[in-house]
Symmetry: C2
Subunit: 312 residues, 2 copies
């Protein structure tokens, strides 16, 4: 039996990391943009943000694998073939990396590490106690899926009061739950550090906007590690410049790579990182796609197939 063909739609610099691990496997890798292929020869797709319209040209496609936990890069394609199963990459390593990134930036903010960083080259010895105690620094997590739960647990373990807002009510030990549009404002009003971990959907696009920032306590801090589409960048800059927000950490942007001309690069209250909060490790992702394909090939279905209608 011929090996199933896996079309890989990944950045050129990445495909070199992946194909060696696939060459000896039970699938045959085809690199989009490098290898020639017949559309009706493609059985599976692995990618992150395929060109819109491409997937519907593959008549024998059996399943699509998302390289990230978010699948908005597929669902934003108006021609996405909705009958084809879309499998989301859920991986402990990815959740743990994301939680590390969030925890690090909560602590850098909470412990005023940036002030010490600024004082050091000036040889300034400036002691200070914490302006706000840990037990009074309220963390609010937008989105409470796998990654949100892992992050919430670590933050609660460190003594921060943690709440989470999600579409439907979800329980988590030691985490106060808010749900739905009706409770968003109450959630925001008690959030000193807001962390966005939502999936990007029609409902959540632009949720980090002027109205949201106005509902947060004065001096709140915002961390976006979900998608650039969640944030209205000009609203953030206005809220920072007005002093409503004390700072922001952004790992994702409306346009990526973040254009050189973006004011976010050099805003004194913004930490900008190049979408690295959690990067799928090739070996782990290869195992994910091979396991998934093996299941489909024997007539089973892998876990974490996305509901294409709700994007969850």
């Amino acid at each position: 039996m011929a090996k199933p063909n896996l079309l890989m739609i990944v950045p050129a610099k990445w495909s070199g990391l992946w194909t060696p691990q696939l060459n000896d496997s039970a699938v045959h890798p085809v690199v989009h943009g490098e290898d020639a292929y017949a559309p009706d020869g493609i059985d599976y797709v692995l990618g992150f943000r395929p060109p819109p319209g491409l997937l519907k040209t593959l008549p024998k496609l059996k399943a699509v694998f998302s390289l990230g936990a978010g699948v908005d890069g597929f669902l934003s394609d108006p021609d996405y073939p909705k009958h084809i199963p879309l499998v989301r990459f859920v991986d402990e390593t990815l959740s743990a990396e994301m939680a590390q990134f969030v925890l690090m930036h909560v602590l850098i903010h909470h412990r005023h590490q940036r002030l010490f960083d600024a004082a050091q080259p000036k040889r300034q010895w400036r002691q200070m106690t914490l302006p706000r105690r840990t037990e009074d620094t309220r963390i609010g997590i937008l989105g409470f899926g796998e990654i949100g739960r892992v992050a919430a647990q670590h933050l609660a373990d460190l003594g921060f009061p943690v709440s989470a807002w999600s579409r439907t009510r979800k329980k988590g030990p030691g985490v106060k739950s808010f749900a739905g549009d009706a409770e968003l404002e109450a959630f925001l009003a008690q959030t000193d550090i807001l962390i966005c971990l939502l999936p990007l959907t029609r409902q959540t696009a632009g949720i980090l906007n002027a109205k949201t920032f106005a509902a947060l306590p004065q001096g709140a801090f915002v961390i976006n590690v979900a998608r650039g589409g969640h944030l209205i960048e000009k609203d953030l800059i206005a809220a920072l410049d007005a002093g409503r927000l004390s700072g922001a950490v952004l790992d994702v942007f409306q346009t990526e790579p973040l254009p050189e001309t973006s004011p976010l690069w050099t805003h004194p209250k913004v930490t900008a990182t190049p979408h690295i909060a959690a990067i799928s490790q090739p070996a782990v992702a290869v195992r994910f796609v091979l396991d998934g394909i093996a299941k489909f090939e024997r007539g089973a279905r892998p876990d974490n197939i996305v509901d294409v209608e709700t994007a969850y």
Copy 2:
């Protein structure tokens, strides 16, 4: 009955924070360097590093309270009156703050946040995967008391392999234990990030030296949040400049405040902070000393009285 007199030997800028909270209490605060007092009128002392010889001039001293978890500031006084109980400040808040600081700097190093910080003002979008995975990044903690255990737990929860070295063997869930001089080298050889949380004693003074750095794996990282006396600063600078160590975070120094002339302020591989990893909160410390005095006054003994001989 007259209130017992508590002599406070604290920095001038701090005494203003403390005395208001003590004025309405069951003790009478006396501020060293501000208030006149008769040596034989002093019942208790609260401080961090009293002038050597001072304590032995207080004939009716009943007990001494240390403002920090470390008591080397008392035991370095050759005239410390060893029959007087010395009470160490053990406080959950202090341990939690120290663990936060350690965790933050482990993550800043592990996640290469300093590289992203440097790339940001240059508008450079430079993605990279973790050069070393979390499960392969071995943390070694020197000292495994209350603070060490809290830090170890958080680091293990984040997926780091954690080991600890202590004078005598101690157990901790998920932490590999090394004990005594005989096992120090083996401990160091498997430590990628070394965290010093030891008490400062004759045995541990200068333990962070050239020989220790040579025993660590190439490119190891060092965090000292214990005492400046643990570190031979010139050995650290030599190890950093030779590339043996990849960096260091120092919160404590041989001389504090760190002199303006110190090369540590501007060393490109050093993060220097002004002894703020854990700062006793006035309200918590006031409760600690009032509770302790109440126990002594009714003939009981508080917890955490130090063994003056071993300094533990």
